[in-house]
């Protein structure tokens, strides 16, 4: 299940909702991305996530489907926020449920790696006196590529 939304999400509510969609869960992996307090060594004031409405949903569904195809999963949840977020706020949530731990952990890792390079989001960070579009990291592409094998 995927959601693209401006409002915050609740991990507990999402786990409860996911558990209703399947049974015999043995392993539950989650990942939460959070706005850091700092940009390099400077205090971060806010991070604004721009996205491409329509394409975002399309890509998140693609990533979700790919995970469900590659691993034996019972259920998945991907929630990605957009808009202006403050330090400490939640950006993204991934939950994967499976019978055994390996599938849940690996697929959760995969989803977040693919989101990094295939989710049509762009981040604008504001410090007290400046603003910056966050560059994609070449390391993120390397992380994505390791899932090609």
């Amino acid at each position: 299940m995927i959601k693209v939304q401006e409002e915050d999400f609740s991990l507990t509510d999402e786990i409860t909702f996911l558990k209703k969609r399947c049974n015999n869960i043995g392993a539950l992996s989650t990942f939460i991305g959070i706005v850091r307090d700092k940009r390099e060594d400077e205090k971060l004031v806010s991070m604004t996530l721009e996205h491409y409405p329509g394409m975002t949903e399309k890509m998140l569904n693609k990533i979700d489907t790919e995970a469900l195809n590659r691993w034996d999963l019972l259920a998945t949840t991907i929630i990605h926020r957009y808009g202006k977020l403050l330090p400490g706020e939640q950006i993204v949530l991934v939950i994967t449920a499976s019978k055994h731990r390996k599938e849940a952990i690996e697929s959760c890792h995969f989803i977040i790696d693919w989101l990094k390079t295939k989710g049509p989001f762009w981040k604008y960070e504001k410090t007290v006196d400046k603003g910056f579009w966050v560059d994609a990291k070449s390391q993120d592409l390397d992380e994505e590529l390791k899932w090609n094998n």
């Binding site: 991305g33 491409y52 390079t117 049509p120 579009w133 994609a136 592409l141």
Partner: protein, 83 residues
């Protein structure tokens, strides 16, 4: 053709989207870029180094050699940074 811009490309051009009239001799994304750059310094600046620019056609990742036609939605943006 609907063309969208994101992130610093949108900032540099001062617009997030526009409708472009394309004639039949615009066959690929590269042709479209050439058209946009004609007589416009902002576009010339944005597209001077396309190695850091990505493109999508109808919300699917595409390459500069891919074909486009008047009904397509094209978007230009820097590499994505989701998650």
């Amino acid at each position: 053709m609907k063309v969208l811009y994101f992130s610093w490309i949108k900032d540099k051009l001062g617009k997030s989207h526009e409708e472009i009239q394309v004639s039949d001799n615009i066959k690929t994304i590269n042709d479209l870029i050439t058209l946009l750059k004609q007589n416009n310094e902002n576009y010339k600046d944005v597209f001077k180094d396309t190695s850091s620019i990505k493109v999508s056609i109808n919300m699917e990742t595409a390459s500069f050699e891919d074909s486009v036609n008047d009904n397509d939605e094209v978007a230009f943006f820097p590499p994505m940074t989701g998650g």
